[in-house]
């Protein structure tokens, strides 16, 4: 069964999603974004019809995929659910736990799925480590380290990404990937000690998490690397074994290659989403887990602002 996807948004993530849905064998039917000029450009670039309202999106697709700035997630997802369509939304799920809960409730009442695109769970190296850890091969997890280090965003996304009130800053937008992975591997977080430096599109954040299981996790997320740079790292130490990532197999200097390992990871995510929506698989990540990651990220933001470690409230 091929799903018809309606894209809401016309920025970088919307482009990534179009390519990934297609690579996953699904049909992207149309695009909507509030600015006529942006959606016209996007429509031409991707060979997609564009529409001028969410209602028209719903009329022409089975699944609404929300790739808009974070401060618009709640409003659009609730509207999409009310229109009776399954919803995919980019991470972070929302800017506040209250919004996330409202989105979840709206989808539940409408009887539609809410899938949050925490794509890092689909990195094959991470899936491998999670499988091995779940099977007990690493033993009790003692200390984990994650780094997700990027240059600043360029182009029009800087307008909203660089505004913490709209994006949640580097912690909610970037570090949240590894916060979610840490929770997936080691369970709920009880305490966060975090700090940030910089502002706008150039921020750098560090955090130390304490999990209820006893595991401790070190996180580092950056928008302050050189432009175009991107690097991730993980090291998972258990009392039976350690798992660690290595440098990527393709590295270039002075050249921007047209392909990226990330393409396959996004496609794997949407292949999985399609199976979930067809009722053939349980979601790898639920909206409840996405909300937990958001709660930890918000606690980290509070810790960085108050320069004090923070207890995570409401961690289930």
């Amino acid at each position: 069964m091929t799903l018809r996807i309606g894209i809401v948004g016309s920025g970088r993530m919307a482009s990534v999603h179009v390519a990934a849905w297609r690579r996953a064998g699904q049909t992207v039917s149309l695009v909507f974004s509030p600015s006529p000029e942006s959606r016209r450009r996007f429509s031409e670039a991707h060979g997609l019809p564009s529409v001028s309202s969410l209602e028209e999106v719903a009329a022409g697709c089975d699944v609404i995929d929300v790739c808009t700035p974070t401060d618009t997630h709640c409003r659009i997802v609730v509207a999409a659910a009310t229109l009776g369509r399954h919803v995919v939304v980019e991470k972070p799920i929302a800017l506040t736990v209250e919004e996330a809960e409202r989105m979840s409730e709206a989808c539940r009442l409408a009887g539609v799925a809410l899938l949050v695109a925490h794509v890092a769970r689909f990195d094959p190296r991470i899936r491998l480590v999670h499988e091995r850890a779940a099977a007990g091969e690493l033993g009790n997890l003692a200390v984990m380290r994650f780094q997700r280090l990027s240059g600043p965003t360029t182009g029009s996304a800087a307008d909203w990404l660089g505004d913490d009130a709209r994006s949640g800053g580097v912690i909610l937008d970037l570090m949240i990937h590894d916060i979610d992975l840490a929770c997936w591997l080691a369970g709920p977080v009880t305490h966060v000690d975090a700090a940030t430096v910089g502002s706008g599109i150039s921020q750098h954040a560090i955090a130390a998490l304490s999990h209820a299981s006893g595991t401790i996790t070190s996180l580092e997320a950056s928008w302050s690397r050189p432009i175009g740079d991107f690097r991730t790292f993980f090291e998972i130490v258990g009392d039976r074994a350690t798992a660690q990532s290595v440098d990527p197999g393709v590295r270039s200097a002075g050249i921007t290659l047209p392909f990226d390992g990330a393409d396959a990871v996004y496609a794997a995510q949407f292949l999985h989403f399609a199976l979930v929506l067809e009722g053939r698989a349980e979601p790898v990540v639920t909206e409840a887990e996405a909300t937990v990651a958001l709660a930890v990220a918000l606690a980290a933001t509070r810790s960085a602002r108050t320069a004090r470690p923070v207890l995570v409230g409401g961690a289930s």
């Binding site: 997890l141 940030t196 430096v197 910089g198 950056s222 470690p309």
Partner: protein, 322 residues
């Protein structure tokens, strides 16, 4: 120069003895209150066992490689004998004791150097010079790891809360804390430790340790000082820092000066290092400072500053209530 050892239970003591001999100095003797441990160490190192009194007569300089909680006692004895001291880190198991060690040596007019060998790595020196010149721009974050195998297998006092003052937090935090302060030319304004004892849970001390730091100029730093490396890994530990600053990013790996050797018969991989590494350069500097009666490049005050960070991390941590 004639050099004596006060306390021999630190795992580095035997390496220091070998290095000093390579540098052409005489290791005249060693003392330790534990006579059995002393006898065993002297047999391995071929250094004569001695009483402390005899040692303070025959030696021209002393190296303190005892358990951490004995540092102050030795500092008082050696300073009153007027001998220069190279002291293992951290200086003490409490801030007042660490400050007292510095004070006692200053009052007696003796040289006090803290054993922070990473100060003598070419990479650390290069980064210091580069930053001091301002070329780094605003430093945003220093992100470092200094992990190791579990040292209590070889020297059980490392996991003794009274003798070591704590576990992983008291073992490795000081090296990176010292480099960060040296590079940034500042002590941190905020230090917070997050620790656990999931690894080696019977140790009775923290065995994994993460420290977050903030500096007066707004710089952030993080240290992973965990005892998280396997006992039979290719190398005893890691020492690497990623520097994110206005100029860009620099990755420093102080353990990269090795050659990877694979044994064809056993398939075993080993990392081999030259013997005259930073620790030997540190010893040469200690001897030179003692001979020239001058301040060493790593002072007692530097050791106090770095030890204070480890102690602050240790004392800031409150295990979350379960």
């Amino acid at each position: 120069m004639r050099i004596g050892f006060a306390g021999i239970v630190h795992v580095h003591a035997i390496d220091y003895a070998a290095s000093l001999r390579r540098l052409g100095h005489e290791v005249v003797g060693a003392f330790d209150a534990d006579a059995v441990a002393l006898a065993a160490w002297c047999a391995r190192s071929a250094v004569p066992a001695s009483s402390l009194e005899d040692l303070l007569e025959s030696a021209e300089a002393m190296i303190v490689t005892s358990a951490t909680n004995e540092h102050l006692t030795y500092a008082v004895r050696i300073a009153s004998a007027g001998l220069p001291i190279l002291m293992e880190k951290p200086l003490a198991t409490s801030l007042p004791d660490a400050a007292e060690i510095v004070r006692v040596c200053a009052e007696a007019g003796v040289t006090l150097m803290t054993a922070l060998p990473m100060r003598f790595s070419a990479a650390a020196i290069g980064i210091r010079e580069w930053m001091a010149g301002g070329a780094a721009g605003d430093v945003l974050c220093l992100s470092g790891v200094n992990q190791s195998l579990y040292p209590a297998v070889e020297a059980d006092w490392f996991a003794d809360a009274e003798r070591a003052g704590g576990g992983a937090v008291m073992d490795h935090v000081v090296h990176l804390a010292d480099l960060y302060s040296w590079w940034l030319d500042a002590a941190p304004t905020r230090v917070h430790g997050t620790m656990n004892s999931v690894l080696y849970p019977d140790a009775g001390v923290d065995t994994a340790c993460l420290v977050t730091l903030r500096y007066p100029g707004g710089q952030l730093a993080i240290i992973d000082a965990s005892w998280s490396r396997p006992q039979n890994d290719v190398v005893f530990g890691t020492f690497a820092v990623t520097i994110t600053c206005g100029a860009g990013v620099v990755d420093v790996d102080a353990m990269a000066d090795h050659v990877v050797v694979v044994d064809a018969e056993t398939s075993r991989t080993s990392w081999i290092f030259a013997s005259d590494g930073p620790a030997e350069t540190m010893l040469a500097e200690f001897v030179a400072a003692a001979l020239e009666d001058r301040e060493p490049s790593v002072t007692g005050a530097d050791g106090l500053r770095a030890s204070a960070v480890a102690l602050a991390a240790r004392d800031s941590w409150r295990a979350p209530a379960r």
